[in-house]
Amino acid sequence: MTLEAALGQVLSGISLGMVWFLIAAGLSIIFGTLKILNLAHGSIYMLGGFLCYQVTSAFSHVPGVFWLALLVAPLVTALVGGCIEILLLRRIYGLDMIYQYLLTFGLILIVGEVCKILWGAGYNTVAVPWPLNGTVNLFALSFPKYNLFLIGMGVLVFVGLRVLIGATSLGAVVRAVTHNREIAGALGINVPGVYTGVFMLGCWLAGLAGTLTPPMSVVALGADLSVIIDCFIIVVIGGLGSISGAFLGSIILGLTTAFGLYIIPKLAVAFGFILMIIVLIIRPRGLMGVSD
């Protein structure tokens, strides 16, 4: 493999990873704080994609419509998440894991079918927004500007989340609730409110990821299932509940997939699972997770 090709794979892997990171970060925070494995997270991502398509096609005459979608779609998915949390999830906290798994699976079916009803079963595309179309020359290679934008967004969100959770008083509240729900409640923190807020944040992130993906791929059904498993792998590798872990895990999985596809394409799909198993056996709390 030439250096250029290797670098190409690296960047491709990282930009893939960044989209995953946005979804996985949400999944990880949700598990860390609410202790729920949200299978429907991929569905929220897919919904974000469809909303992006909806906005860009409905307002296609508006210049910079993509940026409008980028603003609107994640807010909508966050609201949807809020409804889900308040109406459904609140009733199953503390129950056996199987109930959470199946309820969120039911949500996958519901959201998937609603998307199918609203937008049909075909492919939909969203154009790469100006000024991100075209390529840029880096290290004598040409990279799509949009991919670099994605990497930038990933890093921006990562930093933003770290600051939010680590350095703000709001973040301190979330950390308190994550650490010990009972004590936080006794200290007067509105625990149900924090739960809703965290879930909405997770859904906002998934919606953001969903909005950012269409310009480089298509909007279609099935994204919910294909992405959720990858994100489970990332969250396990990185550590359930850790944002840095999700970031690291996303990069690892992104690179592994990119190189894997290059080297042994047939088994590339299995790489992630093998990694997941190795991590679960050697260090179950993941690279950066907290022990349970």
Binding site: M97, Y99, K266
Partner: protein, 324 residues
């Protein structure tokens, strides 16, 4: 943990139970004379799913091990028989016997790794392994036919008649379920239930926790393999989706629907689920939506499944209860 309910006495009274079982059995045997071919087809699917769900429930409802990947073992059984019949032109009897053996071996290997961890990590491990199995099936074109699957599998003429297939299925599923029934009511089965109730405690009564969990995993895998093998023979085909995690979810839903904590749960759940899936999906384009809503309602409102719900209702009617 699901709420504790006092075990109802009348539904389980030996006399009532024997009568119900006898009626059930008689109807099953007389069925081909009573219903048409398409319904007979559906009944065969119910039987196979019942076996699969019952096997899963040995791990799930009885031992407390939540597995996200039973479909992997089911597919191992199906593909073992499929490959032996289609590629090696083997006789049907050894081809079918090989399925549970293969499933048990894979179950041993997978289970050994998975029981090293508990709860959500155990579940994620089972998911990872079943997806690896799916990937192997999907990619190993030469042996498994890849995403085309294996079709037009040569089965003996005996199976060309749907009635014969039905009786064969009934016999195999009947024996397996009977065996599972004996297992859960044996001292071993009681020990598994104790593990479900309090895994931390059992070590202090001299039970090697991991060994028993692994045993439950292997037994479960074996019967899942038989179910897969049956389905392969019944449908003359095998597809990678047999191993997909959404197939596992189907089995989990069936168990939940019927009731995790009763032996009859998965059986009832399979009947309800299969009939609804087959009939409703013909009449509506939005079966997925209905199923999704049904699952959500099930989890929120009827966590102990249909059998659990019925037992509660019936036990409330009975006046004297053993204790407060």
């Amino acid at each position: 943990m699901a709420e504790i309910r006092a075990k109802p006495t009348w539904l389980h009274a030996p006399a009532i139970r024997s009568i119900l079982i006898s009626i059930g059995f008689a109807s099953l045997i007389a069925l081909p004379a009573l219903i048409g071919k398409s319904w007979l087809n559906i009944t065969i699917e119910i039987l196979i799913m019942a076996l699969a769900a019952c096997s899963l429930n040995l791990m799930l409802g009885y031992t407390g091990l939540v597995s996200f990947g039973p479909a992997g073992l089911y597919a191992v059984g199906a593909y073992t028989t499929a490959i032996l019949l289609a590629r090696f032109k083997m006789n049907i009897v050894p081809a079918m016997i090989a399925a549970p053996i293969m499933a048990a071996i894979v179950g041993w290997a997978v289970g050994w790794v998975c029981v090293r961890r508990t709860k959500v990590y155990f579940a994620l491990l089972t998911l990872a392994f079943s997806q690896i199995i799916w990937t192997i099936i999907f990619e190993w074109y030469a042996v498994t036919g890849g995403d085309n699957g294996i079709i037009s599998i040569p089965t003996p003429e005996f199976f060309f008649s749907i009635v014969n297939s039905y009786y064969f299925c009934l016999a195999v599923v009947g024996c397996c379920i009977f065996t599972l029934w004996r297992i859960v009511n044996s001292p071993f089965g009681r020990t598994l239930q104790a593990i479900r109730e309090n895994p931390g405690r059992v070590e202090f009564i001299g039970v090697n926790l991991k060994r028993y969990q692994l045993a439950a995993f292997i037994l479960s895998s074996t019967f899942l393999g038989i179910a897969g093998s049956l389905y392969c023979v019944f449908s003359d085909s095998a597809f990678p989706d047999f191993a997909h995690w959404t197939k596992s979810t189907d089995m989990l839903v069936v168990c939940l629907l019927g009731g995790l904590y009763r032996f009859s749960g998965p059986l009832v759940g399979s009947a309800i689920y299969t009939i609804l899936a087959k009939t409703l999906s013909k009449h509506t384009m939005h079966w997925n939506l209905i199923l999704g809503v049904a699952i959500v309602l099930l989890v929120l409102l009827m966590r102990n499944g249909v059998m659990g719900f019925l037992s509660e209702r019936l036990s409330r009617k009975k006046q004297a209860r053993p204790c407060a």
